[in-house]
């Protein structure tokens, strides 16, 4: 990567006073590889760094969902339907501090005057929380059998985010949904990536009539409201299909959603790079077309493609969430953020069971984190900013 010429192409800037350290820095700058340069610039973008930490957190949850969640997503606590989130305590009713956190059972009682349900913690009965605890058995990634959970309780139950109408733990379901939603985004992105690369490549490589036709087609797609169109297509999926098959098809549909932007980028880059000196030089030196594309063209616009991908990722997630939210996308038993949000569709749910609303926070935080990272990467990938 060190022979990438772009770093040297940077417009000359006023030289700093010739001290030893500055000279050293200058040399490091000019000999750094492209990705090193990008990393240095990326590091300066504070929000992008925060965003990447958050994203790392989400990926961690997605990868270790089974272990991190205290219950399996389908396990029910039958006597705790629509249960409120339980609070972790360190200080008990007598004011004594415990290092091991514990939680209380919640008892509901009707207020005799207002007839409203009031919920109180039953402080006589603490349920201590244990770590690395044996719980429901599960199959990690569908391969490894285990029954260890990061945390849980031996007696009573622990629902930090409450439960849904069947008494299933919302936190555990949210962790598993994170896995589904992120994978759908990634797979959809890969489909977009290949479509964009191939169609944009054809458009930029052949030029002429084919290029014109493809460009008009892209303009056409961009001028129609895609979400309603995709909703209509998702609605056409046969009702008797298995949830897994729907899952698969929805992923492909989402992949078809985001390629236009990328195809334009690839085409534009191909058209402008074709005439660059270093490409001409490589051609004169006798490099084959394949080598020019792989060694010279692809590395010089790969960074842009990565940036575009990171920017379109939120759209994938949001499209999935929207589709599932209204019941046209994924269906139970598949769990995604959108599927979870189906429970929070109406005012009654929001007023009575506000904790069912927590997936919204996950969606917004992940999308914002991606926007920040995308912004930072866009700045970092631009060779003319410093």
């Amino acid at each position: 990567m060190t022979q990438i010429t772009e770093a040297i192409d940077i417009a000359p800037r006023p030289l700093p006073p010739p001290s030893g350290i500055a000279q050293e820095m200058e040399n490091r700058y000019y000999t750094a590889s492209q990705f090193q340069l990008m990393w240095w610039k990326f590091k300066k973008h504070r929000l992008a760094l925060i965003g990447s930490v958050l994203l790392g957190f989400f990926v961690f949850i997605a990868v270790f969902a089974e272990f991190l969640s205290p219950y399996t997503p389908t396990a029910r606590t039958p006597d705790y339907l629509f249960g409120r989130p339980q609070v972790l305590h360190f200080v008990d009713a007598e004011g004594k501090f415990h290092l091991r956190p514990f939680t209380y059972a919640l008892t509901a009682a009707m207020d005799p005057k207002t007839f409203l349900l009031s919920v109180k913690e039953d402080t006589s009965q603490p349920w201590p929380v244990y770590f690395w605890i044996k719980g429901d058995p599960y199959k990690m990634w569908g391969v490894i059998n285990s029954d260890r959970h990061l945390f849980g309780v031996k007696e009573g139950h622990l629902h930090l985010l409450g439960t849904d109408q069947l008494g299933r733990d919302l936190l555990s379901r949210l962790f598993h949904a994170t896995r589904t939603s992120l994978t759908i985004g990634v797979v959809g992105l890969f489909i977009s990536f290949f479509l964009g690369l191939i169609i944009g490549g054809i458009s930029g490589f052949f030029g002429g009539g084919i290029d014109d036709a493809i460009q008009r087609f892209i303009e056409f797609i961009r001028s129609i409201p895609t979400l309603p169109l995709w909703m209509a297509m998702a609605a056409a999926l046969p009702k008797e299909w298995s949830p897994q098959r729907v899952y698969f098809t929805i992923t492909i549909l989402l992949g078809l959603l985001g390629w236009t932007h990328l195809a334009r980028r690839v085409r534009g880059k191909l058209l402008s790079l074709r005439e660059e000196d270093f490409v001409v030089a490589a051609r004169i030196a006798g490099s084959s077309d394949a080598r020019i594309i792989a060694r010279h063209l692809l590395p010089s616009f790969l960074s842009y493609i990565i940036v575009d991908l990171s920017i379109s990722f939120p759209y994938m997630i949001l499209a999935e969430t929207s589709l599932s939210f209204i019941g046209l996308g994924l269906r139970a038993p598949v769990i995604s953020w959108g599927v979870l949000l189906q429970n929070a569709q109406n005012i009654q749910a929001i007023a009575l069971y506000p904790w069912l609303f927590t997936p919204v926070a996950f969606v917004i935080v992940s999308v914002m984190a991606f926007s920040f990272v995308g912004d930072g990467m866009r700045d970092a990938a631009d060779p003319y900013s410093r």
Partner: protein, 331 residues
């Protein structure tokens, strides 16, 4: 100008034609056709329908002809007779069902556009001339949030807070005493009083984006020499700003009205559904879920027509604003 307009008009018509084909495909996609649905309906009402009856009905309705013949029948019925077919779910002509609600959707889209630009342009100007001020930072932060949050979630959040904090729902478009009443001036005023909530929700992402565009372009323009020259001639600051750099900065904003409208229309069904607006949004979703294909197809066609019309209008507006486009130069 006339040549440019004609060119855009032809493109618009071609796009509309291509679009109608796509909509027709979504109508044809679900398994089974109108004859099957009718038979199912009649059987559920206890009428004995044999397979021969279904075949006969299919033939009578022309559903056994090749798809392109059916497409031509469908589209000519729409264009020349305003006949969009029959809604399976509501047992009424689609045109009647839509007629009651299209107006509200169009009104919502227009209100959102006005809201978006009415907020974005002044805030963008402020952000640019008071760069790095408190207000500028506030606009940036709200912008990030607005762009990251899909409109239906914004609607949910708003609903959540209106219920939790104000104990009062923000949903709907009319107060209860007006919802069934015939149109009158007080009803219209009542509508406007409710309309700002969905307009705000739908327009926030666009507003955020336009503020950023306005700010960036104006920052570029305001340090150019022609501004300095005008200032040197003693023009008052606000007059100078509005007369020259703002006018230039309006260009990229006007050129995105088409996209803005596409985004608004795309987000509208979900927002209407969450906020329970009596427009086409909830109808569209229900039609999709019931595979009520003629109804959902008609609404989809309407949405797409709205955005293509919007793109056309934004092209015209741009040509009016910028003489370079009018005379066919590339900008």
């Amino acid at each position: 100008m006339a040549k440019y307009l004609l060119q855009r008009l032809i493109i618009m018509i071609v796009m509309l034609a291509a679009l109608s084909v796509i909509v027709f495909i979504t109508i044809e996609l679900p398994p089974g056709d109108y004859a099957d649905r009718r038979a199912l309906d009649m059987r559920s009402q206890g009428v004995l329908v044999t397979q021969q009856d279904v075949v006969a009905m299919r033939h009578q309705l022309g559903l056994d002809r090749p798809w392109y013949v059916r497409y031509v029948t469908w589209i000519t019925n729409i264009i020349f007779h305003g006949n969009f077919g029959i809604s399976f779910g509501l047992h009424r002509p689609v045109a009647d069902v839509l007629g009651e609600r299209v107006g509200l959707t169009v009104l919502l889209a227009i209100a959102t556009i006005i809201f978006t630009y009415g907020l974005a342009i002044p805030i963008g100007i402020y952000s640019a001339i008071r760069q790095y001020s408190l207000g500028d930072y506030a606009a940036t932060i709200i912008g990030y949030f607005g762009m990251a949050t899909p409109s239906f979630m914004l609607a949910l959040i708003l609903l959540y807070f209106s219920v939790m904090v104000f104990n009062n729902s923000v949903g709907g478009l009319f107060s209860s005493q007006y919802s069934e009443a015939p149109w009158s001036w007080p009803k219209f005023v009542d509508l406007l009083r409710h309309l700002w909530v969905p307009a705000l929700v739908l327009g926030l992402a666009g507003t955020a984006f336009e503020i950023r565009t306005m700010r960036a372009t104006l920052l570029d323009e305001k340090n150019k020499l022609y501004v300095t020259a005008a200032r040197a001639k003693g023009l008052p600051e606000w007059k100078l700003l509005l007369k020259y750099p703002v006018r230039v900065a309006l260009n990229p904003i006007a050129s995105t009205i088409g996209w803005e409208l596409t985004a608004i229309i795309a987000g509208a069904p979900l927002v209407s559904f969450v906020l329970a607006l009596p427009d086409t949004g909830p109808l569209f979703l229900r039609a999709l879920l019931d595979q009520d294909v003629y109804l959902s197809g008609a609404i989809l066609l309407m949405y797409a027509t709205l955005t293509i019309l919007g793109t056309f209008l934004s092209d015209v507006l741009l040509a009016m604003l910028d003489p370079r486009i009018r005379y066919g130069e590339r900008v």
